[in-house]
């Protein structure tokens, strides 16, 4: 039996409390927008203009043109030509350069004799992704230079105009491989993951700390009415935030969007049920606000970025990472959002993800309501 008046009453009370604190209400909308804008401009994963130094023991025409091959690309910018290893070590330790390329003193002599020569490349490995990308750039530039060598009449007797196999690359969905096209939809998902959890994590524990929770314990309201009554206003507020964030991603950052807005909105409501529910769940298992807040921050903010597939695909994670990723609702939703934003896919492609989110929501609310019931 649905007792609408009680249910409505709880929702109304929760709304009033939300609106009463004007400063908080402003924060609720300003904070996610600011986070989105700051990260939108700040989280630039395109590795470009990497400061690099050369230690050229030969100083010949050929070694100079080898150096130019690096400098002329937009990926590297020359920091300096160093004289010895000690100077280079200093620069790399203080983080002034990210890579050092050492050209041996017999560089061109060997090449003119049609032999192989070696250049040493030292890359600062502190930040593995960056190191990996720098390594990729270096090998590509080196490869192109090698191809040119084979065309050089002075060096080889038989000219190879082109290598026998050429690779033609086409990137679908994001032809220019711009990082904003994968960051923006990702940011929508991650922000809507930790932010509702943080909003929700204080709802019940606050009343526990101040003792007003007893009003609920003695009221005729059923646990599920209380939980949903408290969740719904927050889901509504978060949905408004979703609309704001969507507009920012499309209008300010001009992320590619070719999908169906209506489907995106519908599935995001389901997603917000999950994330607000997760917050309320944290709220029921903790005793003090500090603990609830700490737990919410630790279990959502960083894991959402790391494990959801936002930066790195879930497929390349190790087992323990993949297990953690299953506990984060963002993992399921991210595929949906990127699919809609960049691929313009219809809902039928995401049935599995939608179903997973639905199961997630059911489980989290069931546990929360049971947990709340026990106390009564």
């Amino acid at each position: 039996m649905l007792r609408l008046d009680i249910f409505k009453g709880i929702i109304k009370k929760e709304f009033k409390e939300l609106v009463k604190d004007k400063l908080y209400l402003i924060f609720i909308f300003v904070v996610p927008v600011t986070v989105m804008v700051l990260l939108g401009y700040g989280l630039n994963l395109d590795v470009k203009h990497i400061p690099i130094a050369f230690l050229d023991y030969e100083r010949s025409k050929l070694s100079r043109s080898y150096i130019d091959a690096y400098i002329n690309s937009e990926y590297f910018s020359i920091y300096t030509l160093v004289q010895d290893y000690i100077e280079a070590e200093n620069l790399i330790k203080s983080g002034k350069i990210r890579a050092l390329i050492v050209i041996p003193s017999d560089f061109s002599r060997k090449l003119y004799k049609r032999e192989k020569t070696e250049v040493q490349i030292f890359i600062d490995g502190t930040y593995p992704t960056r190191a990996e990308i720098i390594k990729g750039y270096v090998t590509t530039i080196n490869m192109l230079f090698n191809q040119d060598l084979l065309k050089n009449k002075k060096i080889v007797n038989q000219i190879f105009s082109e290598p026998p196999i050429e690779v033609e690359i086409r990137a679908w969905y994001n032809p220019a491989l711009e990082s904003k096209n994968f960051i923006m939809p990702g940011m929508l998902v991650t922000t809507l993951c930790f932010y509702p959890v943080l909003l929700g994590c204080l709802i019940i524990v606050r009343e526990k700390e101040f003792g007003s929770i007893f009003n609920y314990y003695v009221s005729p309201a059923k646990p599920w009415e209380i939980i949903f009554g408290k969740a719904l206003p927050y889901i509504f507020v978060c949905f408004l935030t979703y609309l704001l964030l969507f507009l920012i991603s499309v209008l300010i950052f001009k992320a590619k969007f070719i999908g169906n807005f209506f489907i995106l909105s519908l599935s995001s409501i389901l997603y917000l049920f999950c994330t607000v529910g997760l917050g309320i769940f944290i709220s029921t298992i903790t005793k003090t606000q500090i603990t609830a807040m700490l737990l919410a921050f630790i279990t959502t903010v960083i894991p959402t970025y790391l494990y959801s597939g936002f930066l790195y695909p879930v497929s390349s994670m190790e087992l323990s990472g993949q297990i953690v990723s299953r506990f984060i609702p963002a993992t399921y939703f991210l595929e949906v959002v990127r699919g809609i934003y960049l691929k313009g896919l219809p809902l039928t492609y995401f049935i599995k993800n939608i179903l997973s989110l639905f199961v997630y929501a059911s489980v989290i609310y069931a546990i929360t309501i049971l947990n709340f019931k026990k106390k009564i």
Partner: protein
């Protein structure tokens, strides 16, 4: 003497909540473990499907070179329709199309193979492309050497001997376990200190404290010191047992230096927490302010986006982030083995921000309460 009693009170309040202690221990053990173990930053097992229209020995030989750990061949497909489906569903991220005339064209030196890549994750896609281009070029060279020089002959080529410094095998676990440690230090010290002050504000016990002869700086000190002590102990524990013990990170630098500066850093983050607490009325508000400061701080202090590629405005903002200095310091000392000579600027940055914030919060506190 008064300060010691105040500190004792703060410690009591901190450890009263059992779940809080569990959460703290969780943060400095499990979080660091899963971060180091679970996340792999290299491209691994990149899902590939292949459309081999040539079905020749050359094409098979080429396909044989696409191997784990970088790539994982999921299927061979025949039609374009299947390709679209695999990519749309996101089950495969890269398609290799070998044209029917591959073998004939290779002999004529103008074969083309096509790579279709899912550009959704642009960063990973870039890395995967560079792996595959290298494989293709290596194979090209083999063919050239085979064809033109039957006898063992080498072509004039430059070999790039790449060596990664400070992390020779490019292990994600070294970077990730340390990053999670730095993240936890940042987050927990900010949250604990601000929550400790706000609780007093919310309960109104701050007024009781103020009518006693304690001075406001003593109140702050009592809030900050327990945080510094607790977190620095936890992080040292975590450094030895998790980072060094489990992930075998060869900690090169001076651990004592690291410990001292970590204490400074926790002090700075706590001051930030206290400053926030003096500006807001309740924990919900504080949480929103912390969120808007913390999330950008975690993401744009240099761990993810390289500072050289940053938007100039963001770069300026990042100079205000104490975490920027701490990351520089932490990785510098622990991985690179840097001494004071390299990191003194970072230490000054951390302390400068910390003391400025403390002064702001004392000032603000006087304005609101001690009128």
């Amino acid at each position: 003497m008064r300060v010691i009693i105040l500190i004792k009170k703060e410690f009591l309040q901190l450890f009263r909540d059992k779940i809080l202690i569990i959460v703290l221990i969780y943060a400095f053990t499990v979080v660091i473990y899963t971060g180091g173990k679970g996340i792999s930053l290299e491209v691994k097992r990149f899902p590939v499907i292949i459309q081999d229209q040539s079905k020749s020995s050359l094409s098979r030989e080429f396909i044989n070179k696409i191997r784990p750990p970088y790539f994982k061949i999921l299927a061979f497909v025949d039609s374009d329709k299947e390709i679209v489906e695999w990519l749309d569903k996101g089950k495969a991220s890269l398609v290799l199309v070998i044209p029917p005339d591959f073998e004939r064209k290779v002999k004529k030196n103008n074969a083309k193979i096509q790579i279709i890549i899912d550009g959704t994750m642009s960063m990973t896609a870039t890395i995967a492309i560079s792996y595959l281009s290298n494989i293709a070029y290596g194979y090209s060279l083999e063919i050239v050497e085979d064809k033109f020089y039957k006898r063992p002959y080498k072509l004039p080529q430059i070999e790039d001997k790449v060596r990664l410094l400070f992390n020779p095998n490019n292990l994600s676990s070294w970077f990730m376990s340390l990053l999670e440690l730095f993240n936890m230090i940042t987050m927990v010290s900010l949250l604990l200190s601000s929550a400790a002050l706000i609780r007093e504000k919310e309960y109104g016990t701050i007024e009781q404290l103020l009518i006693t002869p304690v001075k406001s700086w003593e109140v702050f000190l009592a809030k900050i010191l327990p945080t510094v002590l607790t977190i620095s102990t936890l992080s040292l524990f975590s450094l030895f047992f998790m980072v060094k013990g489990i992930f075998k990170v060869p900690v090169k630098g001076n651990i004592f230096l690291f410990y001292i500066v970590t204490c400074f850093y926790i002090f700075t983050m706590s001051s930030l927490g206290i400053t926030i607490a003096t500006f807001v009325n309740n924990l919900s508000q504080a949480m929103m302010v912390i969120l808007v400061i913390l999330v950008p701080m975690l993401m744009i202090s240099g761990a993810w986006s390289p500072p050289e590629a940053m938007h100039p405005v963001i770069k300026c903002i990042s100079f205000l982030s104490p975490m920027r200095y701490f990351l520089d310091f932490g990785y510098g000392v622990l991985l690179k083995g840097n001494g004071l000579y390299y990191v003194w600027k970072d230490i000054i940055g951390i302390l400068l921000i910390g003391f400025s914030l403390l002064i702001i919060s004392v000032f603000r506190f006087h304005q609101t309460f001690a009128k």
